[in-house]
Symmetry: C2
Subunit: 494 residues, 2 copies
Amino acid sequence: MLEVSEVGNKVAKEAYKAEVPSLRVGLVNAQYDLRNADFPVIIWIAGDDRIAANQMVNRLNEWLDTRFVGTRVFAEQTQEEEERPTLWRLWRALPPKGQAAIFAGGLMRAATMRVNDEMSEEQFSKWLRHVEGMQAQLVADGALVLKFFLHTPEDKQRKKLRKAEKDPETGWWIDQRDWAALEKMGPTLPVAERILRETSAPGAPWTIVESTDSRYRDLTVGRTILAALTARLEQKSVTGPSLAQSVFGELDGEATVLSKVDLSQDLDKETYRAELAKQQAKLYKLSIEARKRGISSVLAFEGWDAAGKGGVIRRVTQSLEAGDYRVNPVAAPTPEELRYPYLWRFWQHMPPAGRFAIFDRTWYGRVLVERVEGFASPDEWQRAYDEIADFEAQMVERGYFVAKFWLHISPEEQLARFKAREETPYKQHKITEEDYRNRERWDDYVQAIDQMVLRTTSAKAPWHVIPANSKYNARVTVLKAITEGLKRTLREQS
Amino acid sequence: MLEVSEVGNKVAKEAYKAEVPSLRVGLVNAQYDLRNADFPVIIWIAGDDRIAANQMVNRLNEWLDTRFVGTRVFAEQTQEEEERPTLWRLWRALPPKGQAAIFAGGLMRAATMRVNDEMSEEQFSKWLRHVEGMQAQLVADGALVLKFFLHTPEDKQRKKLRKAEKDPETGWWIDQRDWAALEKMGPTLPVAERILRETSAPGAPWTIVESTDSRYRDLTVGRTILAALTARLEQKSVTGPSLAQSVFGELDGEATVLSKVDLSQDLDKETYRAELAKQQAKLYKLSIEARKRGISSVLAFEGWDAAGKGGVIRRVTQSLEAGDYRVNPVAAPTPEELRYPYLWRFWQHMPPAGRFAIFDRTWYGRVLVERVEGFASPDEWQRAYDEIADFEAQMVERGYFVAKFWLHISPEEQLARFKAREETPYKQHKITEEDYRNRERWDDYVQAIDQMVLRTTSAKAPWHVIPANSKYNARVTVLKAITEGLKRTLREQS
């Protein structure tokens, strides 16, 4: 696959000098137009020639206006990166709409780790699947993803290195690592080719660039970026490939997950107090063990308005040390957040080793309120199930304990609570016209909730549908689910 | 100092129950009003009673609307925090205007480290001075800073712990650490008192709260927050204490730093090429050593428009591996950034161990463009010199290599470059009406630059004023200053 690019492409110095100025004008102009466009650009520089990749990144930084392009090189993971799910650092480095980012590294590194068996086949193929999944999200969201693999045949690299070592102006670049990488090139390249194959996708192709000649390399990459960016800017409206499928029938009259919930469950005050104290003590002890062992937790809370999420969350946090958790309240996305794929803002809150991230409303807003209110298109919310599954799979693979809760109450109970809130002075702020309006959509929500639970529950990231007409019952049931689940996670990882 | 608070304050259960609802209404209402106010609120909970502090944080989270208040507990530093200057994590946790944050921890921890000699007297007093300095910035910027020290006498704590251990509902909180902390309380309290004294300041007083009785504690803290927040919201306009002083005379006819620069310095192409290659090779090797040894660099570039900052920066980055540096281009602050103290956005870019952070324009904008154009008030830019000095002192103390460059050209050279840019297609974007307009303020800038250089240069964070009429000369001179400075830093730290 890579050999076919080895055709000896070269560009003469004069031809290079003649073309560069207009290429630079084009690139800078396109960058200015990009600022008002509603998509981001990701340029990924990978390759088997470290020096070529380094030079290429520097060249792009020279040609582009660096005020609107960030560069991120993925080298060894830092401690904080190791503590998070695999692609956390990629998500954090994403450019917003209207901007570009240059990513470098990562690919040959992964290939080398696979060859050296520092990554098992299972880990490697999971990693590949996550990269693919993330790329699919970006492309579906409209991102322009341009990937370059800079290839220089082994013998050509040896020649370049030997020559460069003799030249004081360039010799300082050469490094023991470069010679070592050449030794490993034989077995590593087939793995690199596999990555190229499996991450080639419509809208995000790889361009393999023969890099023996640096002028040919620079021009090819520059031209490809300019052509793709210009073509994209000229499209009037941009939509990803349509994934919309009518996968769900109407549910009229059918039983749903929610219809099976026994809302009559209750607890008397005395039992409640005793059980609560017992579960809180358990959770506290488990949290200390989890902190010591570096096992993190993600607790996701969803539920009807006035279902009592806040009260439940407080009973959870009361059992934790203040430094061990963060509660992330989720409201409508800000204008800044809307410039990124919708999962971006949740990725920011992945907990470090041994800590709890508690979400008061979650990424499931995509398939609940955004679906029902039409804020997300059918394309968008239907692909969200898979995107969410991939997001949570990465948490589970990182060893996180993940639990998701839907607090269920009846419409009658909700109405009663709305009325009561209006009469409690410090809760009046919690109730608005919109809350009443949302009640009219109850059935639409029932359908959305049903599909959400069925499509996104899994053994390691299960949904717990909690009967919450009784607050006492809801609190104790949630705490039990957390202590049992966390205990199991701690046991399984020992 | 702390003993005087030990007067046995208590609140009866009925009185507590009677007051809490109105307190909560008040707090939540004030929080809603805060959203439209132009100041942030920082609530700091410290104390000698770990359990009381934990409960207090939980109580505030219960009383306040957690959508608009974040909690941050400062425990042991993470690796990424250790790699940055002292107060980096505090800066990162600051709330924007219109929001509140609860900070907990840090104080007793520092006191204990001092008692155990894990912090020398010098380190400790530097830390205290930085905390003080940061607080002064926040207050001057309008922040409402409310600090509480929860104090429970040792004998009362022992009694509480013994009692709690017997009660299954609360006993799970108790920990070996609590007993250990009590052993150390005698020698630690005087150090804590010193922190309280030295960080008490107008606009940011400490409230010492006797915490033997949890109801008294909760009500006292709650009431104090409500009273301070309400009073502040009622003020029509808010200005910090006036620090404006006419510290600078007019400079008419006087010699300035810039007037002494010999702009005739030049290099022929051949010498330039040889020198550049030599310095780049040096810098590359030094950067590899710096990375290995975890010594970070901050390079700050300022200069007249068209002085050639971009070209100089590119010669620097060409000598570095792409993963070892980030270039941070600094433009006018965004609306988001304006919601924080002006140094906040620069704190975000402090480099991790062994890496380079390069700033294309810097925090000195405060005393340059913001001063000259009147974007900052005299109060603001005059105190900026000290704020900047403290910022850079923290970098130096962390072991960073810090160098600052002013690229100096003559007005005639600038005009010639503007004209040339207008004729170079890929540079046309760089030149606007504003650039010409700025030229009219040349003399005001000369004065501002002079004062900036004189007031903020120091042995470990020196200004280099670079004659840049010759681009060749500027590039080589900057590279030399960097290689010499970095070499010295590497030597001094070995």
